[in-house]
Structure formats: structure tokens, C-alpha cells
Symmetry: C2
């Protein structure tokens, strides 16, 4: 089993933090997206969309969605539970994780992709050779949904030290990686969001944050 990884990219980081929290070590193959290695034939044979991370199972099956990879390892090694401990918490983690993706990760991607000339004809992640144009209006859109992201983070933290209460979960991981990704576009946690700032400091202090 091995993980196709990319050190600078935000989605592989989600998988790496998840694995580090569970102390699971995998063989890793680094793909250099800055050099365009993800759009070359060798890697397109692994994932035709050119996206990372990808888990290669021992039978050669490729799993190329980060949440599919995380769920796989949650089942292989349930402790510590990162996708919820009981039925209700699992539902809340699945729900909030999703909000963090849509309001956070995807918004960051829209702001970033649509303002850099490298992506002028690569408007969507995974559309490597499809020649899909960037849409500059998505920069504003992404900024607006990032405001919503920060608003929800602060609200979730009313209920406890982590984004679903007393336990660090995948919701915290996706939010952390989104905040890291937002920095690429010089967007930061608003100063007024004191709970979020305190939480972010705490999650960055976990050893997994370095993964």
C-alpha cells in the first residue's frame, strides 16, 4: 500500500494529518505539482484527473479522494476516532466536515486558481487537459464564502474546544488545512474571531500539524 503525496498541496495535507493522528505510516511517493509532474502520463495513469492524494491498495486499486482514504483508515484502525465515536457524533462530523470543504477548501481553491495565470486554462481541479477557462468572478465568490467559513468556525467553537465539541476530529483537520490554504491568497482568520484564533493555535501545536 502506498500514498501518492504532495508536500505543498492542501488536500494531501488533510490525509497526512489524519494518518499522523492515528500514527499510521505508509510508503509515500512525492509528486511534484510545481514541476507539473501530476499532469504527466506516469501520474495520469494513476489518477486521470491529476489530483492528489491517491492511495494505492495492495491489489493495485487506486483511491483518489481524500475522504475515501480517511474513511478507509478509520475502519482499519478505529482509534483514535477522527470521524466520530458514536452514531450521532459521526453524523455531526460528516456534516461539518462537508461544510469545511465547501465553505473552506473549495472557496480557497476558487480564490487561488482564478487569479493565477498558471491556471488560466485549468479552471477546475482535475480538469488538467480539458482546457477549462478560469472565471475571475469566482475570486469574489470565494472571498464571500470564506467569510461564511470563518463565521461558522467561530460559531462551532461556542460548543467546545474543537469544532464538534470536546474531541479533535476530521472537521478540525479540514478547517486547519483550509486556513493554511487561505494564506496562499493572504486571507487570514479575522482578528475579531478570538475563539478561532485560540483553537488554531492549539491545533497547530499538535505534532500532526507538521505532517
Amino acid at each position: 500500500m502506498k500514498l501518492y503525496d504532495c508536500h505543498v498541496a492542501p488536500n494531501p495535507r488533510r490525509a497526512r494529518i489524519f494518518l499522523a493522528e492515528k500514527n499510521i505510516k505508509l510508503e509515500k511517493i512525492e509528486i511534484d505539482i510545481l514541476a507539473g509532474e501530476n499532469l504527466q502520463d506516469d501520474f495520469l495513469a494513476v489518477n486521470p484527473r491529476g489530483l492528489l492524494p491517491v492511495l494505492e491498495l495492495d491489489d493495485g486499486t487506486y483511491i483518489d479522494e481524500v475522504m475515501a482514504i480517511c474513511r478507509y483508515f478509520e475502519e482499519v484502525q478505529p482509534e483514535p476516532a477522527l470521524l466520530g465515536r458514536d452514531l450521532k457524533e459521526k453524523a455531526i462530523v460528516t456534516m461539518r466536515q462537508r461544510k469545511m470543504e465547501f465553505d473552506g477548501m473549495i472557496s480557497c481553491s476558487e480564490v487561488f486558481r482564478n487569479q493565477h495565470k498558471e491556471f488560466l486554462k485549468r479552471g477546475i481541479p482535475g480538469g488538467g487537459k480539458d482546457n477549462i477557462p478560469a472565471i475571475p468572478a469566482l475570486i469574489d465568490r470565494g472571498n464571500q464564502t470564506l467569510n461564511r467559513f470563518f463565521w461558522w468556525l467561530e460559531k462551532y467553537l461556542e460548543d467546545g474546544p474543537y469544532l464538534t465539541g470536546d474531541q479533535f476530529t476530521m472537521v478540525d483537520i479540514t478547517a486547519t488545512c483550509s486556513i493554511g490554504f487561505a494564506k496562499w491568497s493572504d486571507i487570514h482568520i479575522p482578528d475579531a474571531n478570538t475563539r478561532t484564533k485560540k483553537w488554531y493555535e492549539k491545533v497547530l501545536a499538535r505534532p500532526s500539524a507538521e505532517a
Copy 2:
């Protein structure tokens, strides 16, 4: 426990088909989105984003993401398995389900929302009162990613009668609802995609398709 539902909307349909396949019956509360009931205070107290479906648990917790709702019931009642029978199949279902959402459901939403004047200031689902403008360029973008959606459907069906092989799963449900949603914009399965056409006929013939 009850389900806030909306008969015309594509995401609640995913939940209804899922529940019908498991023969789970829930109390349903119909929200009339065509009359704007989802953006009125009563429903915004249930889901501040104004989106459906929402599951209300017996303790009053709201679960407002369709996949969180489906995963909840997969655990409550595992048979028939709609999210995969074993570790590897679960990973494939999670992965492909996601593709169907991104390439299918979200593309349909982009094509539809950005061309109808009702959504001129409601550019994103769940941005009801945020005044987020529509982006007409997303109509083309959505059409391009729908091409990709149809291409992948035909490809997945090389491996068996359903989108992950021999078993009907959530991947088939999300794809079916996406195709139904595409029709709103007069977009249909390409004639050349004969495997997809045959599959679609078969899934529509299941009793759950009427749910």
C-alpha cells in the same frame, strides 16, 4: 425523528431513494421551495442555509447534509448495503459517489442556478440571504463538467451493471438524481453512451426511483 423534505429538489430525492431502498419510513415535513418556504424564519431556524434535506434526530439535533443522513441510516440499518459491503468497496463507493456529486450534482446546479433570474442574487446554494451574485460563466463551466460526468458514467459501466460493479449503491443514486437534475436544463445522456442509457432505464425501473 423526522425528515424535512422537498419533493421537487434533487438532493432530498437522493435521501428518499436511499431510505426507500432500505425500506425505512420516516415522518416527513414537506418544505415548499418554489414558494420560498425554505428562506422563511421557521425553516431557517432548522437550517440557517435554507437547504434540504434535513434530518431532525429525537433529541432535536439537525443533520443537514444528505451524505451525513445516509451514513446515519447505513449504520442504523446496514442491509441492503448502499455504501459498500467491505473495506475496499466502501472506499470505491465513497470515491465515486463524490465524483458524481462534483461532476454531476454541482455541475447541474451551476448550469441551472446561473441562468434563472430567481437566483440572480442567490448564486450559491445555501447563500439565501447573503446576496451572492450569479456568475453566468458558470453555465459553460457546468456544461463542460457535465460532459466529464457523462464520460465517467460510461466508463464506470465497463466494469458491471452498476456504477461500482454488481451492486446498486449510493453512487447509482447520486448519478440518477444528477441526470434528473440535468433535464431541468434540457441536458440528457448522450445518445452514443449506450451503457449509460441501459443502466438508467434499469435504475428508473426500481421501485425506489418513485420515492
